[in-house]
Symmetry: C2
């Protein structure tokens, strides 16, 4: 690949590594567009030893994730380290017309040279969201971000893939999130390292806190026997900045837990790399096989046969896949 790479990629990679904001911005566009150049750039920027701590902030729309992300960024900045923010939530104020309070918060942050904010579009049906998001976080890491906060709505498989690729996962709920606790049972509970009950001044906070506590308790012995992290719960009112510093401390604690011994850290990195290879390979195979439009004639022909009642889509697809697996083409 090296010989075919345009000169521009090396320059851009150097710019990103030097922490140049315009270079990073351009790099993120390449990555988001999933171009060959973007991949070549990521190849240049890749480091096998992560230097950034990735925090996933997930929860239903309306739970205040963006406000929380802003406040958390501010809290981290008042200690030490630079922060990259990736918003992959289509409902996030980072992505579109934020309400006034959030916009003011974000503008204040955007003026801080130690903060880089980027929203990622969710797009396509090829499941590449996790791949592009993680790639974007690698570019931010190469640019020197010590902390990378990834805000994503915690529903949907691609979004769960994003959550699985971070170091610390924060699940944000609100007192009226009765439904959301159901959602957690379907996967988010296992994923959550820290739970935040935001807008805690509203009615119902105690009730939902008890529900989450109960779910954590049910898993406590199993986790303890495996020497796993015990999830913690935080109460916040993000719009007033309340509870944010405690949450920041919780992230530090979780990070220290992950680093507690070199062996478990190393095992974790092995898993991370394997998962990264797996996701990349799956996405690339799908792209190679799918994005080319090579099946269009087959679909047109089979569509006609289905509409005539000659065969069901199931039989036609099974037949084609069997022939493909046997190494034959799409011709009868």
């Amino acid at each position: 690949m090296t010989s075919t790479v345009p000169q521009g990629i090396e320059d851009l990679a150097a710019g990103v590594r030097a922490g140049d904001r315009r270079a990073l911005s351009r790099a993120l566009s390449w990555i988001e567009d999933e171009t060959h150049q973007g991949r070549a750039l990521l190849d240049r920027l890749y480091s096998p030893s992560p230097t950034a701590h990735r925090v996933g902030i997930t929860g239903p729309p309306g739970s205040g994730k963006s406000t929380l992300t802003c406040e958390l960024t501010r809290a981290i900045r008042s200690h030490e380290g630079t922060v990259g923010v990736l918003a992959v939530d289509p409902t996030s104020p980072f992505t579109g017309g934020a309400i006034l309070g959030d916009r003011i918060r974000m503008q204040a942050l955007a003026q801080d040279p130690g903060v880089f904010i980027r929203s990622m579009a969710t797009r396509g049906s090829l499941g590449g969201l996790a791949t592009t998001t993680y790639g974007a976080s690698e570019a931010m890491e190469a640019a020197g971000c010590d902390w990378i906060l990834i805000e994503t709505v915690g529903v949907g498989q691609s979004e769960m893939d994003v959550v699985e690729a971070v170091d610390t996962t924060i699940v944000v709920l609100v007192p009226e999130s009765g439904d959301s606790v159901q959602a957690m049972k379907a996967g988010l509970l296992e994923a959550g390292d820290l739970f935040v009950i935001n807008k805690f001044d509203r009615e119902g906070g105690d009730r939902i806190e008890k529900e989450i506590l109960l779910m954590i308790e049910l898993e406590r012995d199993r986790r303890a026997s495996k020497n796993e992290w015990q999830p913690r719960i935080f109460r916040t009112i993000a719009t007033r900045g309340e509870g944010i510093e405690a949450l920041r401390g919780g992230i530090e604690e979780h990070r220290a837990f992950l680093w507690r011994d070199p062996e478990s850290w190393s095992a974790r990195q092995d898993l991370r790399v394997a998962q990264r290879l797996r996701t990349l390979l799956r996405d690339r195979i799908l792209h190679a096989l799918w994005a080319s439009g090579r099946w269009d004639p087959w679909i047109a022909e089979c569509g006609r046969r289905v509409r005539e009642g000659a065969a069901s889509p199931y039989a036609l697809v099974d037949d084609l896949v069997a022939r493909l697996m046997a190494g034959k083409g799409t011709e009868g």
Copy 2:
């Protein structure tokens, strides 16, 4: 394929077609498990001419989709036709521990022989949700359901795939759904045939209604020039059954619009079949290439090389995919 099909499939298909509830229930389990038997069954049940009208009910967690679905089912039943309900929302009370009001509603419905309720687990990372859900709706259709209501949380690509496969899409919002309107801009607005502002007795209903109206207005001329449906807005308080009958009427209107002339109906069916073939093929290719664990040795070996700093995951995956596309194996 015909020769290898166990006798049981023909019996089960006959049972489903006769409207036997136990047969349908078993069929749905096969389909949900994505077994070969399930696909063979769907092949038997497939009809190129749809008889059921599929309604997607989508919206953020907490918007009251389940209550609305229950009430809508009741409203349809008080007119004519049988109803199948598919809940593919992990946060749906259909799926897990419903709150009391919903549970009472659902139990009343479950006793109606003209109603069949099923919740689908969202699972796997192979994006098969839309495929299994649509397959389940085909089984319900074969069993004689005239209406199929599919409840799904409207975030995430697999969920959008589900929405794209229905006839009428209802987007449910609540007065406090400021964030959700952002979500709509990212895709749901185009998908929504009918918008429901549920819990309209809460503060803010008028404001969100105006926002949606404005978005509809922006598209009105374009839609009119293409002779497309103009989305409509409904106010409901589902817990009290208010506004439900009007919404049911809106669905009837949209259905009549889709059927307005044989030509556009036929064109729509062609598109539907092509999309179905496309989704099935993509899922089956992914399964065939992916679910087998055939890449595990490659991932182990490459993981080692990445951790040693010898190559980035990007270069390794690009290299493998290039060799696969050239028809070579995984060996150097």
